[in-house]
Amino acid sequence: MKTVTSPFRFKGGVHPDYNKELARDLPIETLSCPAELVVSLSQHLGAPATCLVKPGDYVVKGQVLGSRTGFISLAVHAPANGIVKAVEPRLTASGGQSPAVVLDTTAPAPEGVDPTERVLAPLDWQTAPREDLLRRIEEAGICGMGGAGFPTCVKLNPPPGKRCEFLIVNGAECEPYLCADHRVMIERADRIRTGVEIMRRVLGDPAVRIAVEANKPEAIAALERAFADIAGDVEIVVLPVLYPQGSEKHQIYATVGRVVPEPPALPIDVGCVVENVGTVAAIADAVEKGKILLSRVTTVSGDAVATPKNVEAPIGTSYADLIAFCGGTKGTPAKMISGGTMMGFAVATDRIPTTKTTSGLLLLSERRVFRYSSQACINCGRCLRACPMNLDVAEIGKAVESDDMAEAESLHVMSCIECGACSFSCPAYRPLTQHCRRAKGTIRARLAAARAAVASAKATT
């Protein structure tokens, strides 16, 4: 095991002020179970889980609330004991609504119901067959906790004919303010090591690269201690501090120098699987202790929070409870963000529940907030230099502004990863990321309609 500095540097990227010092050195604190939990049935990428409970049922911690529907989907479990108050659409961080199970955790357990937590049988990862390990990861409801929420059981099971040569553990956490992964690496390095061992057995013993940004020396030290005597090709790669270092494609390039082709290509096409450190720790808990993924570490920070904290809260805790746990607001917050400032969602109310992918909750005062004024583009090229995907963002913005989606598509807008580096660096305060998002949405809708037309045409003939 050796520590190397990353030899590859991708073009572009920006340096937002990271503000990590607010919560970097604070140990993870555990939030005891709040009175009401709202467990969303679509906490992951893919189809939402089908609900198995109805209002009035009493559920026990770890019990399945919604089963997996279809290949890309995951089961949803009860984060605590309680009675199901309702199953109804509830607000989500991204602005829409999705069906959710509302639990009242203060209700006493009726007799004849064993209130102890449902735990799966622990497995010995050295000897258990690969299929058992994969099924355990699925049963524990583990999904990518970096932000996308892709079901891990699907990602760790590459399609036939594709071999995983590199397992990359993503400890970059390049989003400003967020320190959840940083604390997980410091306090749970041993679990990460076990998780890596398990994933190596599942993926057929690939080489391992643990990517950490250079602004997290304590995390690197902790990982070096945990991985000191590990066998096989394992390296800790120290990456330069640059946003968006944590993006899958750029992390693969920075650690192993391979370039993932344009969509619909996937990292597995270049023999890589990228997994967030939080997910790796959760895999270790699921296999060794049989624990289901029922809680996660979220950084509550920002200059409008009384005392910023890294909180391990049960999934489904509302933002209001999280803020109350951190001593409430300080001054008048102008903006509340779920996630980091570069890719997070602005939210309108604190009555939104956390999910498996909520990595942060920020409250910013008027001083730290700016407004898009969408002035005319002066063709200064800053967005070109900032874009990590090397797209001609200025032209895409102008094309989308005059509704020319065909030109936007010819400018490769579908490769945009919506990292926000362009809007960040635009002196005319143009919402370029929103332009790209609108273009991608329109093009996806058109492609879906075309596929539907072809399907219906095939059906009629």
Binding site: P16, T341, Q375, A376, N379, L384, F424, Y429
Partner: protein, 310 residues
């Protein structure tokens, strides 16, 4: 009737929620600051007429922009200092003794015709200051080609003369570099220009690509085509002003690095061709104007290749 508004009102905007806090006004201010040494040198060498020309151009540029925006019924954009910058750049491209009404007419042309007609900042295909200079040069060739001698008030009898390029007798290197020679207000003092350009490079307002490509091509052509010695050609006739401030105007030059290099080389080549064979003694502003016309084609042919594209 509307229910009572109880909820706290947060700001809702798309990601990202952080910004590099650089603004168009800040960029324009940086360029104006970079031009101050050149303006000071111009006023020092050519006295009061230079100062009046600069003031006239800036004031009439700002006034024209304000009037145009009101006539077009659009929000005022005088605050982004781009009109002030255009006025200042135009003034630096004029001879000091030019009648003030001509300078004002040039500013009106620069702002109204070369910029606001297309919709304002960011939409003009040609550099407004240079378009106005070409307009003045062709409309009033006489006054535009008579230059005051530096410190003319010391020897009032020989006030006006032609530029070194025209008379082919060249002052020593020191005078050339410091700018003690006849010419337009802003194009004489190479030292002040280079100080300003260095400031812009350090502040990352401009990149090195256009100035270096422009000056390198000019030097190469000067060697190949002959004529005056290389350093004289470079330091006179507004090449340094053109390369560092006029050609690097964001709106009318390509945005990608490769595009900037091609643009710079094109400007240098055309400048020397016009100077060597053309009818006008000084080809720099026409060269940049012509390359402005090519800028859209250049940026079309130098599209960046996306990360991961074949």
């Amino acid at each position: 009737m509307k229910p009572k508004d109880t909820s706290v009102r947060y700001l809702l905007s798309s990601s990202p929620h952080a910004h590099a806090s650089v603004s168009v006004t800040r960029l324009m201010l940086d360029v104006i600051l970079a031009l101050l040494p050149t303006t000071a040198a111009g006023i020092a060498f050519f006295g009061w007429p230079a100062l009046w020309t600069v003031l006239t151009c800036v004031v009439s540029a700002v006034a024209t922009e304000a009037l145009c925006r009101r006539a077009m019924g659009r929000e005022q954009t005088v605050g982004d200092l781009s009109a002030v910058l255009t006025g200042l750049l135009l003034a630096l491209n004029l001879p000091a003794g030019l009648p003030l009404w001509m300078a004002a007419a040039g500013s009106v042309f620069a702002i109204a015709i070369a910029k606001q007609v297309f919709g304002g900042l960011g939409m003009n295909p040609f550099n407004p200051a240079l378009a106005a200079r070409a307009f003045l040069l062709i409309s009033f060739t006489g006054p535009m080609t008579t230059w005051l001698k530096p410190f003319w008030w010391r020897s009032p009898e020989a006030m006006t003369t032609a530029t070194p390029l025209a008379t082919q007798e060249f002052p020593g290197f020191a005078d050339l570099f410091l700018g003690i020679m006849p010419g337009c207000i802003g194009e004489v003092s190479a030292l002040a220009l280079l100080v300003g350009a260095a400031y812009l490079l350090v502040r990352r307002v401009i990149t090195w690509h256009i100035p270096v490509a422009f000056l390198a091509t000019c030097a190469a052509c000067a060697l190949v085509l002959g004529g005056a010695p290389v350093h004289v050609q470079l330091l006179s006739g507004g090449i340094v002003l053109g390369a560092c401030f006029m050609a690097t105007d964001y709106v009318t030059s390509p945005a990608s690095a490769k595009g900037k290099l091609i643009f710079g080389c094109g400007c240098g080549l055309l400048c020397m061709l016009i100077r060597r064979f053309g009818a006008y003694p000084e080809g720099c502003s026409f060269a940049i104007l012509i390359m402005n016309a090519f800028a859209p084609l250049i940026s079309r042919w130098t599209k960046p290749k996306p990360f991961g594209a074949k």
